[in-house]
Symmetry: C2
Subunit: 169 residues, 2 copies
């Protein structure tokens, strides 16, 4: 039972580390993928190991996807492999968790039209312009998608996502 996390340099450290440890606590394995297979540095300063590049990632090996925030998503959303992976999870209705600036990747993947979600307040208008409904709540669950706004939302974010993962098994 393996979960994929896609992130990169300048990620919000705790939005990577909290779900990383939390999902392992629940018995899942977590692979961290990035543009290149080399350690990344969070914006506060943690060095985070990367297990594989997005180019070598086979999304069908995973049961869920996590997209942390920080400044990493602005770079990741430009990468075709990242967007293809995200579309795979959505077309198979598999559990996806995104927080903070993570939904920027969802916007660029073209997967949120008609959906309800949240994210960092500063990208609220971009979420709406992509055809989705921005909801200003700590956690928003819409089908396979669990979104939150900021680090202090992480407790309900992971509570809902862990629940959704377990239901999907």
């Amino acid at each position: 039972m393996r979960i994929l996390m896609i992130t990169g340099d300048q990620a919000e450290d705790i939005e990577v580390l909290y779900p990383y440890y939390r999902l392992r606590e629940e018995g899942f394995s977590v692979d961290v993928a990035s543009i290149e297979r080399r350690p990344i540095r969070g914006k506060v300063g943690y060095q985070i190991n990367v297990d594989l590049s997005v180019k070598e990632t086979d999304p069908s090996r995973y049961i869920g996807l996590v997209l942390p925030g920080g400044r990493a998503p602005e770079r990741l959303r430009l990468d075709k492999d990242v967007l293809d992976i995200v579309r795979f999870f959505f077309s198979n209705d598999m559990p996806v968790a995104a927080i903070c600036h993570g939904p920027q990747i969802l916007i660029s993947a073209g997967v949120i039209r008609g959906r309800r979600l949240t994210g960092y307040p500063g990208i609220r208008d971009d979420i709406a312009n992509a055809g989705a409904v921005y909801v200003d709540e700590p956690v928003v669950v819409d089908g396979n998608l669990v979104t939150s706004r900021v680090p202090s939302d992480m407790p309900p974010w992971m509570r809902e996502y862990v629940g959704l993962l377990k239901k999907s098994l």
Copy 2:
């Protein structure tokens, strides 16, 4: 249902933040106490809010205690109020979680003689010299005490500690 965490400047950021969010996810409130009531800075760089000073902390308001690591415990173990709080939890057999250098505080509080625990490898001999048995495992549960060595041990550390808290209710 309120948990007390005692930490300070130069704490290992993730060892503060992971249990902080994790216990809130489980429905507990978490108060962070330090020598002074002012924000502290983790050694990687997170600023962490402090709810109260140890001097104004009434341990009887809490059902459990968490002692993160980093370089903070070396300062905290010199503070009489910190040690009195720790002794309160031990004399009432209430759930205590410590990780990394957190057990330095337990050594100075004089509460680990005859106990089995773990901690950061660099303080292994100090744990043994305090009359305890050092166990080199990811998590060691001995009665009310749940200890771990390093951040990568946090999944089993919190799995055991959350279980112990729930049993204690």
